[in-house]
Symmetry: C2
Subunit: 282 residues, 2 copies
């Protein structure tokens, strides 16, 4: 298989040949941010939102971003044109760069990588996900840093539990999964999702608009374990997974996913919304 | 200036020419550990302790370490022989490596880098350091991960305060500086240093033995802000800095460093201890 072309500090080169100098602060001090866009039918979905978040992350980490938004868009378009990977993901990574003392932010390194991913299924992913809670709060939660220490370290633990993903909690309040946002549907059909101490996902943001037009009330507020006990439905959202029903959180089991549920109607509405976004892109 | 030779996944190459593939988990997910030894007169000081900690960090992060301890020692000796940097630092870095899915631990990348550093001064560093506390607890504190997100991000803040280093605290309990351990000397000349939620430094460990032989009592216990208010002296320890007197923590000011103080006698004893370690190495 050919290696896709990536952007590596101003050059377009094969991903398999790309590298970063050992003195990079992203490598030696874990100092970096990124964002990840899903490409569907060669369209970078919701890229304005992803770029907003990317520039926000860079600013929060005091990383100077030399490229303008238009320049980033041109590079993304060029990669899409060259690589012809209509179903893929594009990852934009910005690191602290080469540092004179290995500690002070240097001249940042920018990488843009495109890689094939399976197209998201047309139907909702069943049987859904089992989540297991773990006591942890991400540092700088509203910044999309490259820090996935805990998530990766917990993978064998998650497997032992027989779970599909981790749900972070602290003091009985849940926040997010390592790479997705968490929602519950209350008995009176209100959508609830944490509003703080999380990374605010782009699918999460789109869903607020979709729910709103569907007449579903959305509340951003803390969710405690008892709220999950009392909930009717739960699901997670992410750019790659869209919406996945949650069947279990620790010992709490939800009814199996059913047609006509709130999760179902939101999933269908999201797919329509995505189609419209693709059509409007051109 | 010639670039020192480094060890990069089995090869000895110039540091300036060394690099890591973009798909490395250390770069993309901040998943890595390291250790850092000071080389003085071509001796890797307290390397048994550093290697103990390095293998401990690797195990805690579930990173398979293919090289034996003897192999690591041989590489370190070889770098010392080739580079002839009698006063330097050696950094051993192990990352998650190339990951098939960008999330699962791959085949780790190992780098060993030697770089010149200024020899530590013969006399104690004066006027000492001003520390400013910041509310933060490092994740996986007993593991020497590459996660320095907060420390680096806070550098401009530290400068604004007019401080020399950050002292992390949480709920009024202080823990450590980003790259050094914190000690106080109580009014009755007891040495106190936090015993949990910190990275246990090698200089800190050596100092326990030194203090003990000098008849100075050492307590490992939580230190609250009030303990600092009440303390007679304070200092920090690190492999590169040995012992540096602390003159200020937030608004609390200590008496200027004086000959005959506990800090002074520990510094002198540490320098003797180090000399002996150098002589015994050969």
């Amino acid at each position: 298989m050919n290696s896709p072309t990536c952007y590596c500090n101003g050059e377009l080169i094969p991903y398999s040949a790309s590298s970063v100098p050992l003195n990079d602060l992203g490598l030696q001090r874990g100092y970096g941010i990124f964002d990840f866009l899903r490409i569907t039918e060669n369209v970078p979905l919701f890229w304005e939102d992803h770029l907003d978040r990317f520039y926000h992350s860079a600013a929060e980490m005091l990383l100077p971003m030399l490229q303008t938004r238009d320049q980033l868009k041109s590079i993304i378009k060029e990669l899409i044109r060259i690589n012809q990977l209509p179903f893929s993901g594009i990852k934009i990574v910005l690191t602290g760069g080469a540092s004179p003392d290995g500690y002070t932010i240097g001249s940042p390194n920018l990488f843009i990588i495109q890689q094939s991913i399976a197209p998201p299924p047309a139907a909702i992913f069943l049987p859904g996900y089992k989540l297991f809670t773990y006591p942890y709060q991400r540092q700088l939660p509203e910044v999309k840093t490259t820090d996935y220490l805990m998530a990766i370290r917990l993978q064998p633990w998650l497997k032992e539990q027989g779970g599909d993903d981790i749900l972070y909690q602290q003091n009985e309040m849940v926040s997010e999964c390592p790479r997705s946002n968490f929602f519950i549907v209350t008995q009176n059909n209100t959508l609830v999702t944490p509003g703080r101490n999380i990374l605010k996902g782009i699918t999460r943001k789109q869903l607020f608009t979709i729910a709103s037009s569907a007449g579903i009330e959305v509340e951003e507020r803390d969710i405690c374990i008892q709220d999950i006990e009392n909930a009717k439905e739960a699901f997670i959202t992410s750019s790659t997974k869209r919406i996945i029903p949650v069947t279990q959180v620790d010992t709490k089991r939800f009814e199996p996913f059913s047609a006509g549920s709130v999760t179902d109607s939101l999933f269908n509405a999201f797919c329509e919304w995505e189609k419209a976004a693709i059509q409007n892109h051109f």
